[in-house]
């Protein structure tokens, strides 16, 4: 497809090594590792309090880590803010929609990154709406998302379509990684299936997709690899070949391994 893949399929784009994060007395991450590869969907799973959201916030620049290293394309990076992560091509789709219901799809796609007219008008801050509209249409087309109206406020779209606008926005700007935090949590069955299709299409453009989900069936349907967090550490990293829901649940809860269940000092 038209996007240049950040690396060839399978290259490790985003890695974390030995990440710890302390909030006061609470140790949310205790030496967590993580790997996401180009052109793959990596599912990040774990029970509540396992440290998933903390890890994602560190990897997307929202928090800094207490210790440990984040590597992009194999080189260490440090993010002072989400904008740093954006600049490097890492985008996040949040669980609660980050779209503006009163504005058009293209205004939402270019939210905070509006295209300006060339020349003097641009320097005065005049918007280049035709360009934004055209590029949004291209992005929707590339991901095969059909919106019934490119100019109506997206409040007139269904919840699933609004979610796909949010996902397409992340995909349009992400050069390397798209994080998706429970993208199907609020969706019905049909919409969920369509959103998972969208996830696959984004993966096929060559970026790494990281899917945070509680829904094990979603994970098995769409993931290439599954990273399991428990008590602030990665305790498994498996290829999605012949994995079953009980396998995943077992890994998450510790039923399948020998790590003692009651380790101190971890909370949500």
């Amino acid at each position: 497809m038209s996007i240049a893949p950040a690396g060839s399929k399978g290259d490790a784009i985003l890695q974390a090594r030995g990440i710890t994060k302390r909030f006061g007395h609470v140790e949310a991450l205790r030496g967590a590792d993580f790997d996401a590869h180009a052109g793959e969907v990596t599912a990040l799973i774990g029970d509540n309090g396992a440290g998933k959201s903390t890890l994602v916030k560190i990897l997307s620049g929202v928090y800094g880590a207490t210790s440990g290293q984040v590597l992009v394309d194999g080189g260490p990076v440090s993010f002072a803010s989400p904008s740093d992560a954006h600049a490097i091509g890492i985008e996040t789709v949040y669980q609660d929609l980050s779209v503006c219901p009163d504005l058009s799809p293209s205004a939402n796609m270019f939210m905070g990154r509006e295209a300006l007219r060339p020349g003097l008008l641009g320097r005065l801050g005049f918007l280049d709406n035709p360009t934004m509209r055209r590029e949004s249409a291209v992005a929707f087309q590339r991901l095969k998302v059909a919106l019934k109206d490119m100019d109506a406020p997206i409040s007139s779209l269904s919840g699933g379509q609004r979610q796909s606008v949010a996902i397409c926005r992340a995909a349009m700007w992400a050069k390397r990684v798209v994080f998706m935090d429970e993208p199907t949590a609020a969706l019905g069955v049909v919409q969920t299936a369509r959103t998972l299709d969208l996830v696959r299409r984004i993966r096929d453009t060559g970026v790494a997709v990281v899917l945070i989900s509680h829904n094990m069936r979603d994970v098995i349907q769409v993931a290439d690899t599954v990273e399991v967090l428990r008590l602030g550490r990665r305790i498994a990293s498996m290829r999605n070949q012949g994995i079953t829901v009980p396998d995943l649940v077992g890994a998450m809860t510790g039923a399948l391994d020998t790590v003692p269940e009651s380790e101190p000092g971890v909370a949500a």
């Binding site: 989400p82 904008s83 954006h86 996040t92 949040y94 929609l97 980050s98 779209v99 503006c100 219901p101 009163d102 504005l103 205004a107 939210m111 905070g112 990154r113 509006e114 300006l116 005065l124 801050g125 005049f126 918007l127 055209r134 249409a137 291209v138 929707f140 087309q141 590339r142 991901l143 095969k144 998302v145 059909a146 919106l147 019934k148 490119m150 100019d151 109506a152 406020p153 409040s155 007139s156 779209l157 269904s158 919840g159 699933g160 379509q161 979610q163 796909s164 969706l187 019905g188 049909v190 919409q191 969920t192 369509r194 959103t195 299709d197 969208l198």
Partner: protein, 347 residues
């Protein structure tokens, strides 16, 4: 609810053709016809037609039309600022008091300056704009940094600014205004009063900036989803601060026009300005919840009460009826808007 999260297009190119097709004129007209400014514009035209038909010699006289426009001009300047604030999901109750304060300080400075020239007037403008902006920045600071709600912050500065204005003048109006400013307030160019020309220019600039620039776009985004805007890298607090400063600046500007028109600081005359501005903005279709609104709607929203008041006086009806009618019309307009929205919105 038939969710179409991501309809796989039968053929991608066909989809794109549909998406890329420029907005049809018919569709554009249809969208415009469904908007509040359009409905309200029709109502305004009907009112004008009604009064003109009943009283062509008085209502439709050039003198009366001129009066309606003059009465509306100062309020419209304030309402332009209120439109920005409300699209961003905010409130500014202080504009009337800020107008009075800016006018009082500017009048005082011009008085002290002594000479009666365009230079004096220019100085007055600088002082009034600075005073207005300062109050606006103060409001913005309280709202975005101290996180006191907009309602309370601007309620507080509404009282404080008016009190300060009384302190400056010892409670009585300053009635010495430079003749050069009065000339501006009463003069006209090609038969159109300067105040009306200036107000039109301010409104057009306000509309262009709101609808065509990134500043305007951010105003809508911030009002529609502040948290999402923050995540998208928009400096939400900074933008809100600028909007309150703008609202204050316009109040300062309106203060000078008011001085020019009335030749006095009108200490008592602006208590209702913020509510009238909010009424006009809401009549024009701006959502109280932010994210939606237009300047043209606000223009219509300013003129409906102005025409109604004027028409009632001419018909010999007690003008107080205008307040009663407008009160109910605002409620009806917002109700109609909600119904329309519930129909259009799919959740």
């Amino acid at each position: 609810m038939s969710g179409d999260a991501a309809i796989p297009g039968p053929a991608g190119t066909a989809d794109a053709a549909g998406l890329l097709a420029p907005q049809g004129l018919g569709r554009k007209l249809k969208a415009a016809a469904a908007s509040s400014p359009f409905y309200m514009g029709i109502i305004l035209l009907l009112l004008v037609a009604f009064f003109s038909f009943l009283h062509p010699a008085t209502f439709a006289s050039s003198y009366n039309v001129r009066n309606i426009f003059l009465d509306a001009s100062v309020l419209l300047i304030l309402a332009v600022g209120t439109t920005y604030i409300m699209i961003a999901g905010g409130f500014d109750l202080s504009i009337g008091s800020v107008l009075v304060f800016s006018g009082v300080v500017a009048a005082q400075v011009m008085l002290q300056f002594g000479t009666d020239s365009l230079l004096t007037v220019a100085l007055g403008f600088v002082v009034a704009l600075a005073c207005g902006t300062a109050w606006g920045v103060f409001n913005g600071f309280c709202i975005t940094r101290l996180r006191v709600s907009a309602l309370i912050s601007t309620l507080g500065s509404m009282g404080a600014a008016l009190g300060a204005a009384y302190l400056v003048t010892d409670g009585s109006d300053i009635r010495t205004v430079p003749n050069a400013l009065i000339a501006l307030g009463h003069g006209s160019v090609g038969g159109v009063p300067w105040l009306v020309v200036i107000t039109a220019v301010v409104s057009v600039i306000g509309g262009v900036v709101l609808h065509m620039t990134r500043f305007g776009r951010h105003t809508y985004l911030v009002g529609s989803n502040p948290e999402g805007s923050r995540r998208a890298g928009i400096n939400v607090s900074g933008h809100l601060l600028k909007l309150y400063a703008l609202s204050g600046l316009l109040a300062g500007f309106a203060a000078m026009l008011s001085l020019g028109r009335f030749s006095t600081t009108t200490l008592e005359g602006h208590a209702n300005d913020p509510l009238e501005a909010i009424t006009a903005v809401v009549l024009g279709g701006t959502a109280l919840t932010g994210g939606r609104g237009t300047i043209i709607g606000t223009v219509v929203g300013v003129f409906i009460p102005a025409v109604l008041a004027n028409g009632f006086i001419i018909m010999g009806i007690q003008p107080f009826w205008q307040m009663v009618v407008i009160g109910f019309v605002v409620i009806a307009a917002v109700y109609a808007d909600q119904i329309k929205r519930q129909k259009g919105e799919r959740l």
